[in-house]
Symmetry: C2
């Protein structure tokens, strides 16, 4: 494995009722907070009232930025920065899923930067300081609660880009599985696909001798495969929701990619789709991943896919490596189908018309250190196979 530095500074409060810690956590950052959230779901669930009650009881002043959309837009980031500056707020409290958290990270970085925040997205080295961020997660998916990455969309340029900086790690994250009970089935399934994709982006990597990390990846994948169907069937199953939630955090907090190349493939391919068509990120990943796997299955990769099949999907150990590899890819596809995910681009409104344009955009990413390097033609083939 490559050399690495382990440094995951986010402190996580995990479990039912951990929100009781919120006031003491905010107090370590200051007394004035920007509350960021998306639509009305936290109002419907009562979480909003709980939070406002805790803030009031503890004399914490708050301002609000609501309406953060999925695939969060740079415009929301700009709005948040303006509110923080106007009211001289001390920290940001993000309540929601990955979009709300990512938008909040960009706000935390943008507040300390004089120029337009989109410049930070384009060049993360410009991030010099960040406001502290506290998150309360309401959906298991992106892992944004324990990493320092924010993915922001710019509708004007049809860009969707990730950027990261050490200061963008949440200082504290409150993970209460009961807040995910109300996540609808399709979002639960899409979130699971996103978690699994994060794990597989690290697992399918040129570095193949990191046994601890790959074993952790396999354990996390198996947790998703066991827990998601339970959560879909019984949305209020605490243990299933808890295991999915913790798997989501560990899938991308760096643990399973330490000492690996960290050169992702499917995410950059999907980001272009959701930038052009605003589709659900996890759905895009579910559609692309099995097609990408088939595309890169070859003499060099077959052993890795066979291991994936054996350790994650428990395929018959008697199968030869090619049969095992193909069986593993088929099992992944069937699993996504079983969760009710649409599995073709056409089903989510994407047709042939802009595939070439999107492939060219995606090919701007650097795939040279990926599990298998991809050219523009490769990407186009994967997109076409996904129609």
């Amino acid at each position: 494995m490559n050399n690495f530095i382990y440094d995951i500074p986010t402190k996580v409060y995990f479990g039912e009722g951990q929100i009781a810690h919120l006031p003491e956590l905010i107090r370590t950052c200051g007394k004035r907070v920007l509350l960021v959230y998306g639509g009305g779901s936290i109002k419907k669930s009562g979480l909003y009232d709980t939070i406002i009650g805790l803030l009031k009881e503890n004399g914490i002043e708050s301002q609000e930025l609501s309406g953060v959309q999925s695939n969060p837009k740079i415009e929301s980031v700009r709005q948040g920065i303006q509110i923080v500056r106007e009211h001289q707020l001390d920290c940001v409290l993000a309540v929601g899923g990955g979009s709300t958290l990512d938008c909040s990270k960009a706000i935390c970085a943008g507040v300390k930067y004089d120029g337009d925040p989109w410049e930070l997205v384009l060049d993360r080295t410009k991030v010099k300081a960040c406001l502290p961020l506290i998150t309360i997660l309401t959906m298991a998916a992106t892992g944004s609660e324990m990493d320092n990455i924010a993915v922001i969309s710019n509708p004007e340029t049809q860009d969707k880009k990730g950027f990261s900086s050490y200061g963008m790690f949440p200082k504290f994250s409150i993970l209460d599985p009961t807040y995910t009970y109300s996540v609808p089935a399709l979002q639960t399934a899409a979130g699971t696909a996103d978690i699994m994709s994060h794990i597989m982006e690290s697992y399918f990597d040129q570095v193949r001798d990191a046994s601890v990390q790959d074993g952790i990846s396999e354990a996390l994948l198996k947790t998703c495969i066991e827990s998601a169907p339970v959560a879909l069937k019984k949305p209020n199953d605490y243990q299933a929701r808890a295991n999915l939630m913790w798997a989501a955090s560990l899938a991308i907090n760096g643990l399973n990619s330490l000492g690996k190349n960290r050169a992702w493939t499917c995410h950059p391919l999907e980001h272009v789709l959701s930038a052009y068509y605003d589709i659900t990120h996890g759905v895009g990943l579910a559609i692309l991943t099995p097609r990408w796997m088939k595309h890169v299955l070859n003499e060099q990769t077959v052993d890795v896919f066979a291991r994936f099949a054996l350790h994650v999907w428990n395929v018959d150990p008697q199968l030869d490596c090619w049969a095992a590899a193909e069986e593993g890819i088929a099992r992944l596809y069937e699993f996504f189908v079983s969760m009710g995910l649409p599995m073709t681009l056409r089903e989510v409104g994407i047709d042939e018309s802009r595939l070439e344009e999107m492939a060219e955009k995606a090919a701007e990413s650097d795939f040279s250190r990926s599990f298998q390097p991809l050219t523009c033609e490769d990407i186009l083939e994967i997109y076409r196979a996904s129609l």
Copy 2:
């Protein structure tokens, strides 16, 4: 799973050559350091000279405490505290295995305490502040490089006790697998048994629904089973040493026991043996663990042992749960034998004579929340079965 807080503050620099970071790490703590080490192995390997060279080049003043023994004694802690106070040192640099690191943690805590440091071992709530600690690990075993626990022996009272406090986490740990190339075969084997015991202490636990954590435990155990034989055969195999080293850290940094009861069994049983007979900790664990497993295998536990057998030892999935459980325990025993470990108490110089006395001492620990509660009689039976 139970509620938990994830908070692992140690920053780890992992890989060959990471010692280059040492001066910058010390500088974050001050300019005067206590260098703590054991016997002469770091002089023979050249590591001592490398460190002294780096300190001198960077104008860092150092004092030394050498001769820290295995099962580190409270007297070494007292000596270290005195040197730190006399020379007004800013931090401690521990270079060695678990004993050196544990002794150093106790020094860091003891320096800030007015009374005798044994009082801190007996009552960890008395630890109020700690000097910063940097570690350079030379052996994969105890995981002390990434946890906040110190186990200290007091020959006067024949006690060997662990204590912990948040401030006792190392601030930085440098993990270079090449430093473990020179670890002798028996120590490599005993270290592996210690790592595996840490993992199993968390795995065999009353909390059975923490799928992520148990999956990580299984992955870590499999890494030990794969890597230790390679390291024993080829002591300079970088990947085997690296995987063992990283498994050792994750085995006990809390990751695989989050949300579990954390009520260990075999360690308290072994601590008494090594307090009375000063045997190698990992050897004691290897001898006791399979006997403990047989003792607690029953209707309530058989499924857990069967899962252990299936997921860790890949036993035939067709076996019924009892046969699988017994096969898993036998495979663990055989694995310890295959590494060349002595597998009876008599072989390490322990006979019948003090078993009852030691069982009474061990029974002072609280086993009520352990995987299976143990009485003094249970412990005596396990000791006898280990003769």
